[in-house]
């Protein structure tokens, strides 16, 4: 950050900055947080969103612990009390439940995005492996969570889990005794301990390893996810289920959606160990070793056909089995066994048939995508058609949104007064979404005030503010101003020392990072080239990938395999120097300069 930027800070800002510098020697400085100053696709930071949902789960879960009683005959009753009697207990429980689903969903999306974009390469193998473990533990965490309600469904789920554990050769029976104890009383207490302590603490430990050094915290997207969770809780409030009574025959139930795939296999009446332990174990193992069997040098899904086809196959099979696990023959005249059992030959035939279908689909998709890419290269890139609202209207929209929030506040308050809990949760969810939109509007208008957009004031005087904001073709007055326009954290990223681990790939040792070499650039922009050449891919690709992820990733990867990295660096720096007058922000600018980077980088 420039020196001149601090002179007008108020005392509160100075206090925060003082505290912030106080963290200089702590581990947190290893993490680089980026608050995007404009909309970026959430696909790049799904992991961060998953973590945010994990935090939401931690907070609501901690509050639920105040009322939940992990005791055999009190567990269900205490949940019922939370749901019906305790003020806002309904809200807490529904947020907790729907956030658990959201976390599993976001984790799966996160995994597949990283899978298809090949992010587990470039020494991210450890991140990938820990991520898979975190994913497995997340599902176990969710599983233990819905079991400790101790409803009928929970007991069915526990009994299946216990019998699966028991079916493991040699160790199984001992493991079952260790994890489940003996009898219902032990189940509840142990699963509670796993749910609130063992699993979260292991998850947190793995997360410390899993965190990349560059993180994107997008406030509007975080608030939107929070709002969506609340809104879902309001529209689809989760029921309690029936209290478990060993003398009453339980109804036909299915597990949560992330386990119905497994449930489909279990229902095929094949050997329990094979279907319930071996298949999911094989799936998890395959995911774990994917970075080590993927030998493609390129990153894009289009350039890794076999791996992409594997991914597509797994998605197809997950979708089919998840749906199948939910499906129970509604014909009540048949026996329960007949309704439940899935013909194993049918099931496995479908699973096998899905493989060539998925490979064919992948082949088709890659063909189409490459065609589209070739066509796009021929044509001029289409002008980005962004919404251009006059500043005045932005303010009016802002004020309208605040007014809407006032209404939502009052409505939510009256909803609570009248006992309409789900409606109030729904309204608060909307409130969060409105805030998310408002925050986006705020950062948009903030960028507007310092962009090249002509701001017409009330005095009808025109000002042109120097910046690299979107939609301008004017060149910039100076490089330093351009760098200054970056957000603080992104600036920090670019000043970060280059990854030393990359050095050992180079045959010629590079003594200095380019930023310290004498050249015409300011330190910030030169180190930004550094990041653009693929050393700090995580953050840059996050920004650029939504538009054109593939060439970008490719070229980012290129220097990794290059034997003349510093030369490339210099070339790139010059290129960035020359490519100043562009429409994009400096961040996407960097992305573009790398995308223009021809493939000759690769040796």
């Amino acid at each position: 950050m420039g020196v001149s930027l601090h002179n007008k800070d108020n005392s509160l800002v100075r206090l925060f900055k003082w505290i912030y510098t106080g963290f200089d020697r702590t581990i947190f400085m290893g993490l680089k947080f980026t608050l995007p100053t404009k909309f970026v696709s959430p696909l790049g930071f799904l992991g961060m969103l998953t973590f945010v949902v994990f935090i939401i789960l931690g907070i609501t879960g901690a509050f639920l612990m105040l009322w939940y009683e992990p005791i055999l005959d009190r567990a269900w009753d205490s949940v019922s009390k939370i749901n019906d009697t305790i003020p806002y207990g309904f809200h807490m429980r529904n947020i907790h439940y729907h956030a658990s689903n959201a976390m599993v969903m976001l984790a799966i999306l996160h995994m597949y995005y990283q899978f298809f974009s090949g992010r587990y390469k470039i020494r991210n193998e450890m991140l990938w492996v820990t991520g898979i473990l975190i994913g497995v533990l997340t599902i176990l965490e969710a599983f233990t969570g819905y079991d400790i309600i101790f409803s009928e469904r929970a007991v069915l789920a526990i009994s299946i889990a216990a019998s699966l554990t028991n079916s493991i050769p040699i160790l199984g029976p001992d493991m079952m005794n260790a994890f489940f104890g003996s009898g219902f009383h032990d189940f509840v207490l142990r699963f509670y301990a796993f749910h609130v302590f063992f699993l979260p603490i292991v998850l947190l430990g793995l997360m410390v390893v899993h965190f990349p050094r560059f993180l994107v915290f997008d406030v509007p997207m975080v608030m939107a996810v929070t709002g969506a969770i609340m809104l879902t809780g309001g529209v689809f409030p989760i029921d309690l289920g029936l209290k478990f009574d060993p003398t009453v025959p339980p109804g036909v139930t299915v597990p949560e959606w992330y386990l119905t795939g497994l449930y489909a296999f279990l229902r095929s009446a094949f050997d329990k160990f094979t279907t319930g332990v071996l298949w999911p174990g094989l799936f998890i193992f395959t995911l774990l070793i994917i970075p080590f069997i993927d030998r493609y040098k390129k990153f894009s899904w289009k350039d890794r056909p076999i791996i992409t086809a594997l991914g597509i196959t797994s998605i197809a099979q997950i979708i089919i089995t998840t749906y199948w696990g939910f499906y129970i023959d509604p014909d009540r005249t048949k026996s329960l066994l007949e309704r439940l059992v899935i013909d194993p030959i049918f099931l496995y035939t479908v699973m096998v048939v899905l493989v060539p279908l998925s490979f064919g689909f992948t082949y088709l998709m890659i063909k189409l995508a490459k065609n589209a890419e070739a066509n796009a290269k021929k044509q001029k890139p289409a002008e980005k058609n962004s919404i251009q609202l006059p500043a005045k209207w932005l303010y009016i929209l802002f004020i309208v949104l605040i007014g809407f929030q006032v209404y939502l506040n009052i409505a939510a308050y009256y909803a609570v007064l009248n006992g309409m809990k789900n409606y109030s949760l729904f309204l608060i969810g909307i409130l969060m979404l409105v805030f998310s939109g408002m925050f986006h509007l705020y950062r948009h208008s903030r960028g507007l005030t310092k962009s090249n957009v002509e701001v017409v004031t009330t005095n009808k005087r025109k000002f042109v503010f120097p910046s690299f904001g979107a939609g301008s073709t004017k060149s910039l007055p100076s490089k330093t101003a351009k760098v200054g326009e970056l957000s603080d954290s992104s600036d920090r990223i670019f000043n970060a020392p280059s990854d030393k681990s990359l050095d050992d790939k180079k045959p010629v040792p590079v003594p200095e990072i380019p930023a310290t070499k004498g050249n015409s650039l300011s330190s910030s922009s030169s180190s930004s080239t550094n990041s653009a050449t693929g050393v700090d891919t995580t953050s840059t690709t996050d920004f650029t990938s939504p538009n054109r992820p593939n060439p970008n990733l490719q070229t980012n990867a290129a220097p990794l395999h290059s034997s003349k990295n510093d030369q490339d660096d210099k070339k790139l720096r010059q290129r960035i120097n020359s490519s100043e007058p562009s429409n994009a922000t400096s961040i996407s600018n960097m992305g573009r300069s790398t995308t223009n980077n021809p493939d000759k980088n690769r040796t």
Binding site: S4, L5, N7, K8, F63, L66, R74, D77, T85, I86, P87, Y88, G89, H91, M92, M223, A391, Y395, F398, I399, L401, I402, Q405, V406, N409, A412, Y413, V416, S424, I428, L431, M432, V434, F435, M438, F439, Y442, S445, R446, T449, K450, V455, T457, T458, N459, R461, F463, F465, P466, A481, G484
Partner: protein, 204 residues
């Protein structure tokens, strides 16, 4: 960043950027206002109703002025819960005393009766009333605090040394209907009202 702010063209009025910040602050406040009320999740919602409730003796019958012995005490659960575990807890345990004759226990109205929290104000042991001649007082088994049955004041022992309100037992107000049945009036759980269990009451 403030350096590159536009010159203030509106003549010293609020700048564009500041106005934006103001709007954002207002929006943030509006967003998080509903969560203030969520604090109600923490305290236990009051189970005692606004209506009077019966004084239920351990045998299950309602206490009656015509049948309850003079100079006698029973442990009463209030407020009575559906949950047997909660009914066992000390904070719901009250000592229901019919005063000895010399303190007016022979009258057939509410003034002959007292109902004090059994939780000792010193360290939360359960004290009880001893009707024996020469005692006729509440005594705590732990550190020997003694309570005056007429007022609930600790007159000896460690609780007697505590500053008000922690030297007077919380007390429930009683009323007697036409049939002589005894009822507990809706309490006011404040130190200056019926007192706070385990903390005390101001003697008015």
């Amino acid at each position: 960043m403030s350096q590159r702010q536009p010159p203030n063209v509106d003549g010293g009025k609020i700048s564009r950027r500041d106005f934006l910040k103001l709007l954002a602050a207002a929006g943030t406040v509006m967003t998080f206002t509903p969560f203030v009320d969520w604090g109600k999740f923490l305290p236990n919602p009051k189970e005692s109703s606004e209506e009077r409730s019966k004084v239920v003796l351990p045998d299950g019958s309602q206490a009656n002025v015509n049948s309850f012995e003079v100079n006698h005490a029973e442990a009463i659960v209030y407020p009575m819960s559906e949950d047997p575990v909660l009914n066992e807890e000390a904070f719901r345990t009250w000592q229901f005393i019919r005063l000895p004759p010399e303190l007016g226990g022979e009258k057939n109205d509410a003034s002959a009766f007292r109902m004090y929290s059994m939780v000792c104000l010193h360290l939360w042991c359960l004290w009880k009333y001893w009707p024996d001649d020469g005692r006729k007082r509440g005594e705590c088994p732990c550190h020997g605090t003694m309570y005056d049955p007429l007022t609930g004041v600790a007159f000896a022992g460690p609780a007697a040394l505590q500053a008000p309100p922690s030297n007077v037992l919380p007390r429930l107000d009683l009323e007697v209907d036409d049939e002589g049945n005894i009822w507990i009036k809706p309490p006011n759980w404040t130190p200056s009202g019926n007192g706070v269990v385990g903390y005390g009451r101001f003697l008015t």
